[in-house]
Every structure is written in structure tokens, then in C-alpha cells.
């Protein structure tokens, strides 16, 4: 347990500084501006466009990727905890701590971006705004956490965690479809939860389960591939 906390402290320390806050603020501004533009174009579908295209289609995956890169100190996931492991920390436990911080932060980013986009795309006085806000924030939190674990596990591949980059590219390319190839990527399931085309005809509940399964498998894979 001690090593999990140490991993969390390490990850938190890596997320300190001006850059992460600045990038997040810029992204939030971008999400809001994009949503407002959509609303001015076609108010009826502005929320869907802003969430599906802007937040979950572009900003959240890219931010999750950058955040994963940051908590891994731009290295492989198993090497990211070396500063603690060399003194005796269990790599697996420390890695779990890194995952926890990474997932919490990305979930928070997802939830906040979803809320901001909705505020830009719709008027607060609109009927059903509160319910949509709750649903969007919940989806943002779930998808954000799933992306964090997905990029974390991808960081196990490549000399310096280059698998992370490939995961981002493949998520953009394959995740955009609805076939079996899209199933291992969070993008298609996020789209399903937002009311878009489902992957493998899964229901929205199924998409939520799929996201949870992706996260679970990513954590399991990371723990299996990392020595103590």
C-alpha cells in the first residue's frame, strides 16, 4: 500500500508546474469556443457536435495522451517508476499509484471539458439541460479514465513508450469505425454513449461495460508485464 501511495506522490509531482495547467486551460477555451461556434451554426445539433467532435473526438484523447506522457516522464510505463523502484519500491504497486493519479486527472479533465462544451453549446435555461449535463460529465469521467489506462498500458511498448503514440493514431483511425477493429479502442464506445453509431451493435450499457473492460484489461496487462 505504501508503494501505491509513493507512486501517486511521484505522479502528482510530475503533473505540477505551469505547462499542464496552461494546456488544460487552452483546451477548455477551445472546447467552449468550438461549442459556441457550433451553436451559432446549428443550435439543435451543437451539443452533439461539440461533444462528439470537439471534446471526445479530439481534445480528450490528445490531453489523455499528453497527460500519460507526462506522468510516465516520457518513458516506458515500467521505467516511469524507476526513481522509486531503485530504492526498493515494488514496481507494480508504484505503477498502480501512477495509474490512479493519471486516471483521476484524465477523468476530471473529461468531466470538466464535457461540461464546458455543453455550457457553450446550449443555454442553461434549455429544458433537460441539467440531465444532459449530468450525463455528459459522467461520460467524460468514464471515457477520461478509460483513455488514461489505455495510454498507460500502451506505454509499455517501445523503447521509450512509443506505443503510446501508436495507440493515439490507432484510436483515431480504427476507433472511428464500428467493426471489430474498433472494439479495443475507447473512441467508438465513447461515441456510442453520446448517442452515435455503436461498435458491434453494442447497447449504451454495453459501451460502458466495454470501456470498463478496456480499463481493467489495460491495468491487468501492465501489472503482468511489469516485474516486481
Amino acid at each position: 500500500m505504501n508503494d501505491v501511495l509513493l507512486g501517486m506522490r511521484l505522479a502528482r509531482e510530475r503533473l505540477r508546474g505551469f505547462t499542464p495547467s496552461f494546456v488544460f486551460a487552452l483546451s477548455a477555451l477551445g472546447a467552449y469556443v468550438f461549442a459556441v461556434i457550433e451553436r451559432q451554426g446549428e443550435a439543435g445539433s451543437a451539443a452533439d457536435s461539440a461533444l462528439e467532435g470537439g471534446v471526445f473526438g479530439l481534445l480528450l484523447p490528445v490531453l489523455a495522451y499528453l497527460l500519460s506522457e507526462r506522468v510516465c516522464a516520457a518513458s516506458r510505463l515500467d521505467r516511469a517508476v524507476d526513481p522509486l523502484a531503485r530504492y526498493g519500491s515494488d514496481r507494480r504497486q508504484a505503477l498502480l499509484g501512477v495509474f490512479v493519479v493519471s486516471a483521476l486527472c484524465t477523468a476530471l479533465v473529461g468531466g470538466v471539458l464535457a461540461a464546458i462544451a455543453l455550457f457553450g453549446a446550449r443555454a442553461v435555461s434549455d429544458s433537460g439541460f441539467a440531465a444532459d449535463l449530468r450525463a455528459s460529465v459522467a461520460i467524460g469521467i468514464g471515457v477520461g479514465a478509460s483513455y488514461a489506462l489505455f495510454f498507460g498500458a500502451a506505454s509499455l511498448f517501445g523503447k521509450r513508450g512509443g506505443g503510446r503514440k501508436w495507440a493515439l493514431i490507432l484510436d483515431f483511425v480504427l476507433g472511428a469505425g464500428s467493426s471489430l477493429f474498433a472494439a479495443p479502442f475507447p473512441r467508438g464506445h465513447a461515441r456510442n454513449l453520446l448517442g452515435g453509431a455503436p461498435v458491434l451493435e453494442l447497447s449504451q450499457g454495453g459501451a460502458g461495460v466495454a470501456l470498463a473492460l478496456i480499463g481493467f484489461l489495460c491495468v491487468a496487462l501492465s501489472l503482468i508485464r511489469t516485474p516486481s
Binding site: N2, D3, L6, R9, L10, E13, R14, R16, A73, D82, P83, L84, A85, R86, Y87, G88, S89, D90, R91, P227, S228
Partner: protein, 320 residues
């Protein structure tokens, strides 16, 4: 009794290194390019070997957190765990080690308490190495201390503190494996000296120099030089006009004995005897000779193998 074992280990510069280090002091003579930093990283479990196996008491340090907890290391380049200040970084490292002492007490012990509030980001590479060495030496029950050139970090740490800490660790039954790139440092560190040359482990053998020199200070250098010139074990005697002679021979013990013998015979007073450090060129030539011998030995040990399978190591790379 602890045992650190390298079994046919290949990693970066290291080429099929097999060696065993038991409790006590050991010095690996060689440079970073010879693979000394690799030895430290592998022994401490910081890196996993590309091929072969490294074990400390039959457990791989890289794969076993419980083993790493009892290992301290100093590498060629050091960095502290990410934290704002040195004290915070030490607190993280101490927690990882399962050590309940405060960072301040560890820094105080090494005379580095002024660093406690320094921001980690402002530390120079030299300061980081000194802090890492202080942290490594602070271990209360180490199984292994693996240190890359610990005597090169002495500008911030006192030599007495470093040598005393190493001595304490040896007395407590730990393996102290230090590296040095100078014979003088190896002698100060003490213990069994082994040599590594361009990634090839040459074993626990100090290179024997073809020629050693002894400086002799005496009020009558001319008479002593004349007497020594007739002595068979003495290869050469140099006198530069002062009160000092440089006597050259094959072994230090034999020429020292001849100098004393000659001085007694001629009733000449000797004021001082001092061994002259060998030149780096001479040392390099000897180490190259040992490397060649190891290669030849490997060829003879594998008579049935295809010659093409025997690697030739140069600059730490396998050519063939």
C-alpha cells in the same frame, strides 16, 4: 555471507561477463566505457541484463523489490525522485526503502544538511552524485553497496566519512562493489581488485606492470646509484642532480629490497622511499594485454566451436 553473481551477462558494453562477488570489499578497475556503470546498474537492479542473469543471494535484484530494498547504488549520472526539495526527495526515497529515519538526519550524518531546503531542479550533476552517495551510504542494513567511482564525489563529502561508511558496511557483512578508473583510487578503496577492459571481465587480477619505479631520497645519491647500477634486479637508475633517485625494476618489492640492501652495504642513509605511480599509458598497455590474453583463453576454451562464433570485442561492440 552474501553473494552477487553475474552469469554470462551481456548488457550495453558488457560482454558475457561471469563473476562472483562475496561479502567484503571489491573494486572493479575500469572506465565507464569499459562497462563499470553497467555493472553497478545491473547489480543494483536498476537495469535488467540483455542476456544472462544477475543474482544477489539467488534472487534477481531487478525483479525483486525486497532485494532492491537492501541495495544501495551510485551511478555515473544520478537523479533524485521527483520532488520540490532535496529533503522531500530523500523522504520519498527513504519511504521506498522502508527506512523510518528523517531526511534531515541522513543529510546531517553526511554533513550535507545545507542541501535540505534546496530545490531539486537547481542541483548540479556533481551535487546530485554527492547526495546520491550520501543516501547510498546511509543504508543501515545493506546487502550490497554498488558504487560507481565513489571517490570522485569527494568535493562535497569528506573522504574519511566515505571510507568509514564503506568499512562499516564491509564489517556488517555487506558486499561493497565499487569501481575506480585509477589504481590510486582502487588502493584507497581497498579490497579485491578486478579488472574490466572494453566490456570483457578479466577477473580479479591487477595488471602487472612490466616496469615499476621507486623514488629514493638520500644525501648521497651518486654513491647509491653507482651501487644500484651493478644490481641485477634493477633495470635502470635515474639521477636528475638533486637528492632523489628514480630506481626502475620489474617488481616493487624486489627493487625496494635491493635499495635497502645496497644502502646498508654502503652505509648510506635513506630519507624516504616512495612508489612512483605508473603512467596511464603503461597501465592501458597492460590492460590491453590482459584483454588479449582473455580473448586467447576464450578461443582455447572453445576448440570445437566455429571460430566465427567467437566474438571480437572492440570499443565495447561485438564485431564478429
Amino acid at each position: 555471507m552474501s553473494t552477487l553473481r553475474f552469469d554470462s551477462v551481456s548488457h550495453d558494453e558488457l560482454a558475457r561477463m561471469s563473476a562472483v562477488f562475496e561479502s567484503g570489499a571489491h573494486v572493479v578497475l575500469g572506465t565507464e566505457r569499459d562497462g563499470t556503470n553497467g555493472i553497478v546498474q545491473l547489480a543494483a537492479g536498476i537495469a535488467a541484463p540483455r542476456a544472462g542473469r544477475v543474482t544477489l543471494d539467488d534472487q534477481a535484484p531487478h525483479d525483486r523489490a525486497v532485494v532492491r530494498r537492501r541495495v544501495s547504488a551510485l551511478c555515473v549520472e544520478e537523479r533524485l525522485p521527483e520532488a520540490r526539495t532535496v529533503a522531500a526527495a530523500f523522504a520519498l526515497a527513504l519511504s521506498a526503502r522502508g527506512d523510518t529515519r528523517s531526511p534531515q538526519s541522513v543529510l546531517d550524518q553526511a554533513g550535507l544538511s545545507s542541501f535540505a531546503t534546496r530545490r531539486s531542479a537547481t542541483l548540479s550533476a556533481r551535487e546530485l552524485r554527492a547526495l546520491a552517495l550520501a543516501f547510498a551510504l546511509s543504508h543501515e542494513r545493506p546487502l550490497l553497496l554498488a558504487l560507481f567511482e565513489p571517490l570522485s564525489a569527494l568535493d562535497l563529502l569528506a573522504e574519511e566519512f566515505v571510507l568509514a561508511s564503506l568499512s562499516n558496511a564491509v564489517n556488517a557483512g555487506a558486499i561493497v562493489l565499487a569501481t575506480a578508473n585509477r589504481l590510486e583510487d582502487a588502493a584507497r578503496l581497498g579490497g579485491v581488485i578486478g579488472v574490466i577492459e572494453r566490456g570483457v571481465w578479466l577477473g580479479a587480477a591487477l595488471p602487472e606492470l612490466l616496469e615499476v619505479a621507486l623514488r629514493v631520497r638520500t644525501p648521497e645519491p651518486r654513491r647509491l646509484a653507482a651501487r644500484l647500477a651493478e644490481t641485477p634486479d634493477v633495470l635502470a637508475v635515474e639521477w636528475g642532480g638533486g637528492s632523489e633517485l628514480v630506481v626502475r625494476g620489474s617488481t616493487l618489492e624486489s627493487i625496494a629490497a635491493k635499495v635497502v640492501e645496497s644502502a646498508r652495504a654502503e652505509a648510506i642513509r635513506i630519507e624516504a622511499l616512495r612508489c612512483e605511480a605508473p603512467s596511464l599509458d603503461a597501465l592501458a598497455a597492460e590492460r590491453a594485454g590482459l584483454a588479449q590474453a582473455a580473448y586467447e583463453r576464450a578461443r582455447l576454451d572453445a576448440p570445437n566451436k566455429n571460430q566465427n562464433q567467437i566474438p571480437i570485442f572492440t570499443n565495447g561492440r561485438t564485431l564478429q
